[in-house]
Amino acid sequence: MPKIVIDPMTRIEGHMKIEVTLDSSGTIVDARSSGVLYRGIELILRGRDPRDAARITQRVCGVCPVPHGTASALCLDAAFGISDKIPENGLILRNLILGSEYVHNHILHFYHLCSLDYADVVRAASYPENDFEALRQFASRGELAPFLPRYVGDYRLNDDDNKALVLHYIQALEMRRKAHDMLALFGGRTPIQAGIVPGGVTSRPTTEKMVSFYWRARELYDFVVNAYLPDVLRVAKAYSDYFGIGAGCGNFITFGFFDLDGSKPDYARRKRLLVQGTTNKSLKHEELDLSQICEAIRYSWYDDDGTPNPQKEGAYSFIKAPRYKGLTHEVGPLARLLVNYASGNESVRKELKAVMSELSIGIDEMFSVMGRHIARAIEAKVIAEALCEWVLKLSPDEPTFVPYELPSDAEGIGIVDAPRGCLMHHVRIENSVIANYSIISPTTWNGSPMDDNGQHGAIEAALIGAKVRDWENPEEIVRIVRSFDPCLACAVHMTNLKGMPIGEVKVFA
C-alpha cells in the first residue's frame, strides 16, 4: 500500500516525522508519528542542585519555557514542603507570567504556524490596497521564501477573508511580541524567563508595572476579540469540512491551571481557573487520578532499562507512550475546553455556545481539526480577560517569595497544563541533589507512538480514517497534525515510570 512520509514536519516546534499508509481510495489506514531528536535533559539534571531544575527544564522548550519553569517550581515547592505556603502575590505573579505565555503561544500557533495552510500569501501580494505595499515589494523581488514553495492547491478563502488573515499574520508578529514584552514585566525576560522560582517569584510588583501590564493585556485582549477569534471563524466557515476531519481518540485529560487558591497542597484538587479532570465523548466530567497514568515503550527507541537505542527493532520514535486508565488521551486546548464544558465552567460554556451558534454547529463537530483551533482562540480570550483582572489584585508591599530549607531527601510532583496540554514534573532528591527527574509533557501524550497493546497515539488516531485527495500535496495530513500544536523538544523524554510509582509519591507534600 502506498505510503506518504513527511520529514521534516515543519511549522511545529522541533523535529518530527509523519508517515501514513493509504488504501486505494486515499484513506489513511495507518499512521506513525516520530520524534527524531533526543537530548536527555533528565540525565543532565541528575546530580545537580534541585533549585537549578526550574531554570534548566525551561530549556526543554523555548516556545513554552514558562510551563516547564512553573511545573518545576511546583514540584520543588512540594518537595520542599511549601506548596501551600506560596504568598498570594507569588501565585498571582506566576499566573500573570504563565498567562502571558499562553497568549503568545496561541497567537503564534494560529497565525505563524497554521494560517499558511489556509491563507494564500501569494495571492495577497496582488492586492492593490496600501496595506499590501510591503508584501507587493517583497513579491516583486522574486524571492518568495519562506512562503514558497508550499503545497499547491486548497487555498479557498475569498479575497476579503484572505486579506484579513494575511494582514493579521503580519500584525500578529507584532502582537505576539507584545505578549512576550508583557511577560517580561514580571518574568524578567523571555523566552526562558527569570522570575518563577521554587518559593514564589523573584520580582516585586510596583504600581507602574501593574498599570503597564494591565494595558498590555487589554491591547492583547482586543486583538484576540477583534482579529484572532474572528479569523478562526472565517477559516472555520470556509473549511467547514474540517469539522469532520481529525476527530481523534475521543478521550481528553487536563491538569488544569491558573491557581486561584494556593491553600490546598494537592495540585490535583486545587481550585484552578480551568479545572482538572478527564472526559470523553459522553461529556461527563471525571476527577483526576494521577495513579492511573502509565507509560509504554514497546515502539519507542529505548531499551527496557530506559537506555536510548535508536537501532531498536520495531521502534519508530524517541517519544514514549503515556496512557491514562490504559487508554490514549488527547491533551491541549480542546481537552481543556471539553473538560471545562463538561464540568460546568460557565465562562467557557458561554464562549463556546456563542461560537457554536454563530457557526451553526453542535458539540460533536468540536471533535475535529477546526474544533482545536476554536478551543485555542476561546481560551486566549478567557485568559487575556483574566490577566486584566488578576494584575490589579497584586499588593506592592506584600511578599512574593517564601524562604525554605533545602531538604536532603525528598520527593515531589508538579502538575500544570501548558498551552499544549498536561505537563508533569517529578523530582526525587537524595543527599540534597537531584537523584532522579522525570517529565511527561503534552506532546508526549499527543505525539506518542503505539503502546504495547497496539493502541495509537492521539495524533496518529486523528490521522487514521482521514482521506488524502492529492498524494503529492497532502494538505489534510499537515492540517491535522498542526491542529495539535506539536512540540517535539518537549515530547522526547526518558521518564522511566517503572521507577516512578506516581500513585505512591507524596503529591501532597
Partner: protein, 300 residues
C-alpha cells in the same frame, strides 16, 4: 532602482529548544516583519529559505530547498546554526529529512552545509559552546558547530552569538555587521569569537545593583533588594551588554527582576555556573581552558 542583493540563509536546528528562534522573533527594530519582508539594510534582503519553524513547505519540498540553495547561489549562503550537534550513536539522536528512505543525521547535513557556506553564525550557547545538551554527562555527545567544524576539518569562517537564548539584537546586529562590513575582523572579536560590540563588557561592571555590592548590601534571599552575589549571581564572570541593553525591548532583564545572572552567555554554562543559586567560587574560572586546536572549552 538598484538591484537588491539576496542573502540566502539556511537556518538549521539541531539539539535545540527553538528558544533562539523565538527570541529572534522578539526583535523590535527591525521588527521580524521588517526582517522577513523588507530589506534589512537598503539593497540587502535576508532570504530565509530554510527554517523549519517558519517555512511554508514540509517534507521533501523543504529538503529540496536545501539542495537548490547549495547549487543556485554562486556566492554561497549564510548558515545559521541553532542548537548543538549530537554526534553519538552515528548521529542518530538528531535526524532531519530522508535520503533513499533512510533518515539523514544532522551530522551529515551539518558537514555539507557548513562546508559550503560563506560563513556560519553559531546562534545561541548550544551552537556556540555546546550549552545545555552538552551538560554533564553529555548523553548524546553534543558539541558546538565550531567544535564540530574543527573536528571535521571545515574552515568556514564563523562568529559566535551565544546566550540561552541569544538576544535578538545580538543576532540581528551580527548579521547587519556582516552585511555592512564583511566578516568580523580579529580585533572586533573577543578570544571566544564573539563580537566585542555585544560581549565586550562584564555584567558586574555595569550592573545597576553595583552600588549595593560596593557598599556590602547583600540580598540573602531571592526577591530581596541588594546585590545578588550571595544568592548565586554570575554577573561578575559573564560578559554581555544585558545591563544596559536589557531584554524584550528594554523592559526588564534578569537582575532587574531580582533574579541572579546564571551566566548563560559563557562557555561554562551550565556546568561551570552550577549550582546556579550558590555563590560562585572564582577559583573554578582559571581552570576553564580553550583548546585552540579543537575550539573546545574544558574544565582542567
Amino acid at each position: 532602482m538598484e538591484k537588491v542583493v539576496e542573502i540566502p540563509v539556511i537556518w538549521l536546528q539541531g539539539a535545540t529548544c527553538t528558544g533562539c528562534s523565538i527570541s529572534v522573533l522578539n526583535s523590535v527594530r527591525p521588527s521580524i516583519a521588517n526582517l522577513l519582508l523588507e530589506e534589512l539594510l537598503p539593497g540587502k534582503h535576508i532570504n530565509l529559505r530554510f527554517h523549519m519553524t517558519i517555512m511554508a513547505g514540509s517534507g521533501e519540498i523543504a529538503m529540496e530547498i536545501i539542495r537548490e540553495t547549495k547549487g543556485s547561489f554562486p556566492n554561497g549562503y549564510l548558515l545559521v546554526m541553532e542548537g548543538a550537534i549530537p554526534t553519538a550513536n552515528n548521529g542518530l539522536f538528531c535526524t532531519i529529512g530522508e535520503r533513499d528512505g533512510k533518515p539523514t543525521p544532522l551530522t551529515e547535513l551539518a558537514k555539507e552545509l557548513a562546508g559550503n557556506a560563506m560563513a556560519v553564525v553559531a546562534l545561541g550557547t548550544c551552537a556556540s559552546f555546546g550549552g545545555i545538551p552538552s551538560g554533564r554527562p553529555n548523553p548524546t555527545g553534543a558539541m558546538s558547530i565550531v567544535e564540530f567544524m574543527r573536528l571535521n576539518g571545515i574552515d568556514t569562517p564563523f562568529v559566535r552569538v551565544p546566550g540561552c537564548p541569544a538576544h535578538p539584537d545580538w543576532f540581528v546586529g551580527t548579521c547587519a555587521h556582516i552585511m555592512l562590513y564583511g566578516l568580523p575582523k580579529a580585533e572586533e572579536l573577543d578570544e571566544l569569537g564573539r563580537l566585542k560590540l555585544f560581549y565586550g563588557k562584564l555584567i558586574h561592571d555595569n550592573c545597576p545593583r553595583r552600588g549595593y555590592f560596593d557598599t556590602g548590601r547583600m540580598a540573602h534571599k531571592l526577591s530581596d533588594e541588594g546585590c545578588l552575589y550571595e544568592v548565586g549571581c554570575k554577573g561578575y564572570v559573564t560578559f554581555s551588554d544585558c545591563p544596559y541593553r536589557k531584554w524584550n525591548g528594554g523592559i526588564n532583564w534578569c537582575i532587574d527582576n531580582g533574579h541572579p545572572c546564571i551566566g548563560c552567555c559563557e562557555p561554562g554554562f551550565p556546568d561551570v555556573m552550577s549550582p546556579l543559586y550558590e555563590r560562585f567560587f572564582e577559583e573554578r574560572l582559571p581552570k576553564l581552558k580553550l583548546d585552540e586546536a579543537t575550539g573546545k572549552l574544558t574544565l582542567s
